[in-house]
């Protein structure tokens, strides 16, 4: 019953107090949200930020009006919490310092080069414009095909592929400035 329902139908049922509908949405989006958080947040904090996001969803799902897709609404919450994380943490030092520092703490099994690469990519992802970041995350974190991204964004396939190349170029430019 729940597996066939759209996200928006499940959200409406959850608004009426249906816990199972909410848990279906949660199971549907946990990996995607987790991957989005992992693309921007140092590893030691990924679990905490992911938890904060889903708690915020429980508290605010009543305010989802259905004017946009559910995942657009959800990813707005994800972006807000990632921004909040850096706002909280940047009170003492810059974001890039935090990323590199946090990435190298508590993960002795990671190779240093790989840690550096993750931190650099995370920083670059945080620096590119939102629409570039979004198309990359839809492809990498959500696993959407380019055709699905085109449908999701209401654009042609060619326009999405063009946007994607500009997005990757922007990430490349940011990496070049590190």
């Amino acid at each position: 019953m729940y597996s066939d329902a759209t996200d928006e139908q499940l959200a409406r049922q959850a608004q009426q107090g249906d816990r199972e509908a909410f848990l279906t949405l949660y199971n549907r989006y946990l990996n995607k949200v987790y991957n989005r958080v992992r693309s921007r947040i140092p590893s030691p904090d990924v679990d905490d930020v992911t938890q904060e996001i889903f708690i915020a969803v429980v508290r605010s799902i009543e305010r989802f009006e259905g004017k946009s897709r559910f995942n657009t609404w959800l990813y707005t919450i994800v972006s807000r919490h990632i921004a909040d994380f850096y706002r909280r943490r940047s009170r003492g030092s810059s974001d890039s310092d935090i990323s590199l520092e946090a990435m190298t703490v508590g993960e002795p099994s990671y190779e240093h080069q790989h840690l550096d690469e993750r931190a650099i990519i995370q920083r670059a992802m945080g620096a590119v414009p939102e629409h570039y970041r979004e198309v990359i995350l839809l492809r990498f974190a959500d696993g959407m095909t380019f055709a699905e991204i085109a449908e999701h964004r209401g654009q042609s396939l060619e326009a999405v592929k063009s946007l994607y190349r500009r997005a990757i170029q922007a990430v490349r430019d940011e990496i070049g400035e590190v």
Binding site: L30, E62, Q169
Partner: protein, 146 residues
């Protein structure tokens, strides 16, 4: 298809191959650096790495607790917003106004015998005004809810 579109399609195909775990197709020289970025993104965001079962289990339990708490609070709020509940509050407020006025007025009047007719009128006027105010507040409250 112009050159720009070819580059767009080539990078998209390369990304599809990398994410499918295949060898990337041969890339145009202009796209070599972008291909490297695609590989770095794939290693960083890797969708094949889900949250640990322990975290998943902990989060599910935490969300169930949060859901219970949020809906308990919501039920209390909904109860206080029921029509009969609001009506009862309005009637109680009205009764308090009337009782308060009845208790206060005799103390403020000097000669009880001389002013007994006036007191009754005053009580009725104040009670009427109080009732009108309470009904107006109730009406206004009801309208705002719809």
């Amino acid at each position: 298809m112009d050159k720009e579109q070819k580059l767009d399609a080539m990078l998209a195909a390369y990304t599809d191959a990398i994410l499918a775990g295949e060898e990337g197709t041969e890339m145009d020289d202009e796209l070599q650096q972008l291909g490297t970025v695609v590989g770095q993104l794939q290693r960083t965001i890797d969708p094949e790495t889900p949250p640990s079962p322990a975290f998943r289990s902990r989060l599910t339990q935490r969300l169930n607790e949060e859901w219970t708490q949020v809906h308990r609070e919501r039920r209390v709020l909904q109860f206080s917003q029921k029509r009969w509940m609001r009506m009862a509050v309005a009637v109680a407020a009205l009764l308090m106004i009337v009782v308060g006025v009845v208790l206060l007025l005799p103390e403020n009047s000097g000669n009880q015998e001389a002013t007994s007719g006036g007191e009754v009128s005053a009580v009725l006027i104040v009670a009427g005004v109080g009732m009108a105010v309470a009904l107006a507040a109730f009406f206004f409250w009801s309208q705002r809810r719809h």
